[in-house]
Symmetry: C2
Subunit: 332 residues, 2 copies
């Protein structure tokens, strides 16, 4: 066990696109857990578009500050505990930050079971899988036969949303960047169609892929793609607002999508934001469903694992550029 704790600091908040120089490596002493804290060794760091949004502030958590360890969720192992209920060897999920060791308040940690592969705790059985599950089923509320469209469809959440929608008997159209991803969605994950926003005009391609209109749009991106979906929503359609990644990596947009609120009125749409934590009381049922689908081979788990703490900044920058397929994480 090394005696130092390697960390990655956010040295300045980006104003435009996130850059490697916004971060730096640092070393610190391994912290002592205070009363009510647990010392953990971080095994995998979760990379999420939301990490970038936290830098703007005004999200569901406090803004990340310059010159501190970059915030981020991770799966970690308890090294020593100064809090009841946690013992060395326990596995936990929490906001460990981008570092090797962290002293974390026990009440912010969630105990998770040991499993093989451990990475599934961050993908299908982690926030990504639960976000897809609750966002689609509790917010989007698709019925069998509905047309479901999902953006960032090859990402950690989108790839699971589309597969759950297929399990529920829907026609599923994914929107993703690049032919490879689009082919993968259709041939590997069973989507009915995919729209490549990098090479096709989205509005027109969607019209062809969803000729009966859209009943449920699971929105991970906001911006132009939300604007392209709005006029194609069917009356009474539902838009599950999960994220707005098109808006995160730069200055906040000065405008919103055309058609709000006009189309929301005339089409009687429901547009609803959600945060996965709001549904944690139904977590057990969600886990049971996800596990049964994975076991039955109906839900394929795609992970994108990058080695080495030092590569975390580049891993996030790449994720914001749409490099990843499935759940991206860093093995520390």
């Amino acid at each position: 066990m090394t005696q130092t704790n390697r960390q990655i600091l956010l040295v300045e908040k980006p104003t435009g696109k996130l850059l490697p120089q916004n971060f730096k490596m640092a070393e610190a002493a391994i912290p002592e857990p205070k009363d009510g804290e647990v010392l953990v060794r971080v095994r995998y760091i979760s990379l999420d578009a939301a990490n970038r949004a936290w830098m703007h502030g005004a999200t569901y958590r406090a803004a990340v500050e310059a010159n501190t360890v970059m915030a981020g969720g991770g799966v970690a192992e308890v090294v020593s505990s100064n809090a009841p209920g946690f013992a060395p060897g326990d596995l936990v999920f929490g906001d460990t930050g981008w570092q090797e060791y962290a002293a974390v308040k026990a009440k912010t940690l969630v105990k998770v079971p040991h499993m093989e592969p451990m990475t599934h705790l961050l993908s299908v059985y982690g926030i990504a899988g639960l976000t897809a599950y609750f966002g689609l089923l509790e917010v989007g509320k698709p019925k069998s036969g509905d047309t479901v469209v999902v953006s960032a469809a090859a990402g950690s959440v989108g790839s699971i949303v589309g597969q759950i929608a297929k399990i529920k008997g829907c026609r599923v159209v994914g929107i993703a960047g690049g032919k490879d991803k689009c082919n993968w969605l259709v041939s590997e994950l069973g989507f009915d169609a995919a729209v490549d926003y990098k090479s096709e005009p989205v509005f027109k391609a969607l019209k062809a892929a969803a000729p009966n209109g859209i009943d449920v749009y699971f929105d991970n991106v906001g911006g132009d793609i939300l604007e392209a979906c709005l006029p194609q929503m069917n009356n009474g359609g539902r838009i599950a607002c999960c994220g707005a990644v098109s808006q995160y990596d730069g200055a906040p947009s000065a405008t919103g999508p055309r058609g709000v609120p006009g189309l929301i009125v005339v089409k009687r749409l429901i547009m609803q934001g959600f945060i996965v934590m709001d549904y944690y009381d139904q977590r057990q049922k969600a886990m049971a469903d996800l596990q049964s689908w994975v076991k039955a081979g109906k839900l394929k788990v795609q992970e994108d694992i990058i080695n080495g703490l030092e590569n975390t900044p580049q891993a996030l920058i790449g994720l914001l550029a749409g490099e990843n397929r499935g759940k991206r994480m860093v093995k520390v």
Copy 2:
């Protein structure tokens, strides 16, 4: 009884602001009701911001066309009937258009009771009152103690929304144009506060008037005022999208409100459009509630009645400019 039917035609669809020259008076023969039709004499024509939206098309009804009688709802008396269930002397509500007589398909007409004053059939017991009732209670779903904000608050729908919200124990803030309207909302209708969007910066004035944030925003206007409300919504807040009058009288806006979908996600908002017809199965309960509140003096009915069919175009132009207080209609 005159032998001619005076009518107002829409001679061209406006591209910018609606103007008197977009209309002209005409005369036609009184029509004969065909099989399944009813000949009615129009008594009162309802003026609504939606009339202007119909000229754009892409609403919940067919676009109004140039060189036809301008569409519009009205209360009318049956003159002769060629359809079962309707007899001379019956009172009906339907899309009679801007004219003295109309032959209307019976299945599009709703029979309404004779009452004094008859104008209440277009205000509190008409679409305005029902829109306020269902939009607030079924879409906005306010709880006692909630802060409810309503825009176009001195209008036909807004003035009723605010009063129902008070009846339900909410803190009510109205947004309206002009000091007179704002004073009237507070002193006559019992609103807790009012924001004059013509003389105050809306974001700041709202912050002062709704210091605990907004739980329910009943949106009649869209645009900048929706944008000002979004960041002040409380987590889990609900936006009832009733109309977007700020967007109707001119070319459709090329952008939407900033904060969509970002703030919808992080605040877990529900933004929901509705059309009053979707709730007609619950109409009896709504009518009973509205009548009991009017009788008890808890719900004041404000009407703005203009005389003469020939003044209908100017009445609509004035309504779009925010001239009216309460329900505007034309006595034919």
